[in-house]
């Protein structure tokens, strides 16, 4: 695994993988959008407003998954001082922040017609808002040092401390009273959501995942190119 993470090796295999990821992203997001808007049935209670779910649930899933990925990359960077791991963590953050924002806004737009309010300060909503601020804090922190390696280390520690928020988000709907519904997909005993809605949701979630992987690979490559460019310029200056 570490051989694949060598910067030159990474550039090689990610360059080959990238076009396939991009094509798969386009296919699954396109298919997911079509299923979500045209094929999936309206809900018997929520009517057509349930179509917000196909944006809200995948973005919520990505918001937390990307944070977990960022924390793992941060741990690898702290323990093994691996340069690509630092870059991987840093480049995941804006994507995760974007998904979290999307989750909050789409949830608000779904909450208004269904709960009668845009926002409540309950455990689920508040813990996801905390997640959003963790992403923003992380991005601010890694850029706050003159020496990039110190910023990366401080950021990695923040990312790891913030991991406690992930189980809080997941179990907030069970531990506290909330307007938010409990888990209906990743739960013991299997999903309780109807198959006609689960399939479009799964396709959309896969599309979101592929979208993240594609952009993440591109951003890591971008950062590695910038590092190489700096090294070349230093060489020329000598």
């Amino acid at each position: 695994m570490f051989r694949l993470a060598n910067p030159n090796r990474f550039m090689q295999w990610s360059g080959k993988l990238l076009p396939w990821c991009a094509i798969a992203t386009a296919i699954f997001l396109g298919l997911g959008l079509w299923l979500a808007l045209f094929v999936a049935p309206p809900d018997y209670q929520q009517g057509e407003s349930v179509r917000i779910m196909y944006v809200h649930v995948p973005s919520a899933y990505m918001a937390t998954t990307v944070y977990a990925i960022m924390a793992v990359a941060s741990a690898v960077a702290l323990i093994w001082r691996h340069p690509v791991a630092d870059i991987a963590a840093r480049e995941a953050a804006p994507l995760g922040a974007g998904f979290t924002l999307l989750c909050l806004v789409s949830g608000s737009l779904w909450g208004k017609p269904m709960w009668g309010t845009w926002w409540v300060w309950d455990a689920r909503l508040t813990s996801v808002l905390v997640l959003f601020f963790l992403y923003l804090g992380y991005i601010a922190l890694i850029n706050a040092f003159d020496e990039p390696t110190r910023g990366a280390r401080a950021g990695a520690i923040l990312a790891l401390v913030g991991v406690v928020n992930l189980p809080i988000i997941k179990f907030s709907v069970d531990w506290w009273n909330t307007l938010h519904q409990p888990a209906s997909i990743f739960r013991l005993g299997g999903p309780t959501i109807a198959a006609s809605m689960l399939w479009p949701l799964a396709v959309m979630a896969l599309g979101f995942t592929l979208f993240f992987v594609t952009l993440w690979l591109m951003r890591i490559r971008s950062a590695l190119m910038a590092a190489k460019l700096r090294a070349l310029r230093l060489q020329q200056a000598v």
Binding site: P42, I52, V55, G98, L109, P113, R221, S222, M225, L232
Partner: protein, 54 residues
């Protein structure tokens, strides 16, 4: 056209459903454009620097 109108009306929830999809397009499209623009800029700069070195 009635079919289209009916679809766009989203059973009366149009003003919640469409903004949710619009925000998705804006957020994900914004990230996509920013990523591609930076990538291309660096690719070009790196190619130019490597050509200079040879």
């Amino acid at each position: 056209m009635e079919v289209v109108d009916q679809f766009l009306a989203m059973g009366g929830y149009a003003r919640f459903v469409w903004p949710a999809y619009a925000v998705a397009v804006i957020v994900m499209g914004g990230l996509l454009i920013e990523t591609i623009v930076t990538y291309r800029k660096r690719r070009r700069a790196l190619d130019a620097a490597e050509k200079l070195r040879r």
